[in-house]
């Protein structure tokens, strides 16, 4: 009998435990918002009880009233902890000596962060001027598909999903996966791990966005004016430009910096049109040659961003001449940038200069002759001015007419024995307007007057709808 009784309790124990623990398990699984709501309801009940007792008088209830007020205070503190999260819990730990386990619930809020952005564009290209040797300054996206499709087109240019995960306060992962042209191409634009140590010094490794120019790291459609990125920031600064590598980043006083070692560009992809084809994007990238890229910005005055970046490294990646000499093709790209924002005004300017070594040999290896030479020097600048007519009037809304002037040349110098193709020397005027009904949506309409020395530039009319969340 004693045996069967023990068996009975042994069998029953898990059930009893499960029942006893169920509320706790449920509470843990419920979201913070629900917990806050529950606690707020309890606070309201307690307030009502206290009010009822106060109106009823009754000295005998004094102790009970004090107890209810104490409970009310406890609940108010609990709600504050849930709202603020681990910062409040940690305060408990230091104040009341709770061990880590006691405040564990507040420390479970690790972050899975999901975001995204996208762009849909309708683009008219002035076909009349598009004759010639493929010389039109094509927009970043137009560059590929426009050549195939020609003329006017509509394109779900990109739909992007950000996924980040915060393992703890020190280690986080961040990534961007991009579907281009309605899924025709899929690309991981960045995927890196950050190891945070202190504001001045942190470590980053993975597939990194090169910290150059305005747009390579910040290219959500709501962040820049114009349906297309400046052409300069596509050909000489080849946005979006990501390579595998590692490095340091941080901020000290009014300065921020990044310094990375990455796999170098691949000179095999360079053309007279610029460096864009040399990007490797982390896809089985050649890493025979490495490069260094660094950036320094000053942000000491609100509204001002002033800085510069340098990329330097060999791009030969094992290329050899017919005689067996390995090509270095040192590539150095230096840029300076300045942005000033004051009330509704936004002004940007950027200047860039790139220099390449071993270009004559590279041309020979790649079979480029005459005016097809890769530029030994590339240079350009742009100025952009916009003004938000709704600045400060309606929260989140913006109506920004703007103008941008670009001048650049992807063959500013070519080696002896080669000639310059006039269709690489551009001047582009963009006039347009951006309208944001809310901070995260933008409608952009602009006209781009594209001129080159050869007279083959194709003007563009663009309408773009962009979102970010």
């Amino acid at each position: 009998m004693a045996f069967s009784c023990r068996r009975f309790w042994t069998a029953l124990l898990p059930v009893v435990l499960a029942l006893a623990l169920a509320p706790a398990a449920f509470a843990q699984s419920s979201s913070t918002d629900e917990r806050v709501r529950d606690l707020e309801q309890q606070v309201e009940q307690l307030k009502a009880e206290i009010a009822a007792m106060k109106s009823g008088g009754g000295n005998a209830e004094a102790d009970r009233l004090a107890e209810l007020e104490r409970r009310l205070e406890v609940l108010a503190v609990e709600i504050e902890k849930l709202k603020i999260g681990e910062a409040a819990a940690a305060a408990d730990q230091s104040e009341q000596g709770f061990g880590p386990a006691a405040s564990k619930i507040y420390r479970t809020e690790r972050g899975l962060s999901v975001g995204g952005y996208g762009e849909v564009i309708y683009q008219q290209i002035d076909e009349g001027e598009e004759e010639g040797e493929g010389a039109a300054a094509k927009s970043e996206e137009g560059e590929e598909e426009e050549e195939e499709e020609g003329g006017d087109h509509f394109d779900l240019r990109r739909a992007v999903i950000y996924v980040g995960y915060k393992f703890n306060d020190r280690i986080l992962f961040n990534s961007e996966v991009e579907f281009e042209h309605a899924g025709e191409e899929v690309e991981v634009e960045f995927a890196y791990l950050d190891f945070l140590w202190r504001p001045q010094l942190n470590f980053r490794a993975g597939l990194l966005l090169m910290p150059v120019g305005f747009l390579n790291e910040l290219h959500e459609p709501t962040v820049f004016l114009g349906a297309n990125r400046p052409d300069l920031e596509q050909r000489i600064l080849p946005t979006t430009w990501e390579e595998g590598g590692f490095g340091l980043f941080g901020a000290a006083g009014p300065f921020t910096y990044r310094t990375y070692i990455v796999n170098g560009l691949d000179a095999e992809g360079f053309t007279d049109d610029g460096l864009r084809g040399g990007r490797q994007g982390g896809s089985e990238a050649k890493a025979e040659d490495l490069a260094w890229v660094g950036r320094l910005d000053y942000t000491g005055l609100p509204g001002l961003l002033a800085g510069g970046s340098v990329y330097t490294g060999k791009s030969g990646q094992g290329l050899e001449t017919a005689s067996g000499r390995q090509l270095g093709v040192r590539t150095t790209i230096a840029e300076g940038h300045l942005e000033w924002r004051w009330r509704g005004l936004e002004f940007r300017t950027l200047g860039v200069r790139a220099e390449l070594d071993d270009v004559a040999e590279l041309n020979e290896v790649l079979g480029l002759a005459g005016d097809e030479s890769i530029g030994e020097k590339l240079k350009g600048f742009y100025l952009q001015l916009g003004y938000d007519l709704l600045a400060g009037r309606a929260a989140g809304k913006a109506l920004i007419p703007f103008a941008r002037w670009e001048s650049f040349n992807t063959q500013d110098a070519v080696p002896a024995g080669f000639s310059v193709n006039p269709d690489t020397d551009f001047e582009i005027l963009t006039l347009g307007v951006s309208y944001k009904p809310i901070e995260q949506l933008v409608l952009k309409v602009d006209y781009q007057n594209v001129d080159n020395e050869a007279g083959t530039g194709a003007d563009r009319f663009n309408v773009l709808l962009g979102y970010v969340f």
Partner: protein
């Protein structure tokens, strides 16, 4: 998480006595705070910390938790005895830190009162690449100043 509540309070009010207060807003107070700030007031229960030194008011610290993009941040916003913004500290920030403005940007708020100029692209300059954080911060400061005005009065600690 950058600071605990305790650390932030010690930073804001060194050598002060700090008392925690809880306020239960009436519906009309919530409505008034919305109107004054132009921002959402998500809870009728608000906690704040009143600091004094030698019996003299030293300021009030408000902790405001709000969503930036998809994840929350908590700010400590100190209001001085004249009802103007003092120190702002980021207590926790769950979005990637790329979306976090630098310290100098927060200094723009110092000394500001709740007036129509306290808006992005008016007295507050935006930050490229951290627009949503800038917007959320400006809303939080307006919300806190409105609550301060309603619960404590514009010119009190």
């Amino acid at each position: 998480m950058f600071l605990t509540v305790d650390e932030a309070l010690k930073l804001a009010f060194p050598g002060c006595e700090v008392a925690r207060r809880a306020a239960f807003l009436k519906p009309e107070q919530v409505q008034r705070a919305r109107e004054l700030s132009g921002a959402e007031v998500p809870s009728a229960l608000v906690n704040y910390y009143v600091a004094s030194r030698g019996g003299q008011p030293a300021g009030t610290a408000w902790f405001d938790t709000h969503r930036v993009r998809t994840l929350p941040e908590t700010l400590m916003i100190v209001v001085d005895p004249q009802g103007r913004v003092g120190r702002i500290e980021v207590i926790s920030f769950r979005e990637p830190e790329d979306y976090l403005p630098r310290g100098a940007w927060y200094e723009q708020f110092r000394g500001k009162a709740l007036d129509p100029g306290l808006q992005l692209k008016r007295d507050i300059r935006p930050v490229t690449g951290a627009t949503l954080t800038a917007r959320a911060t400006t809303d939080a400061v307006r919300r806190v100043l409105a609550l301060h005005q309603i619960l404590i009065g514009a010119g009190k600690p």
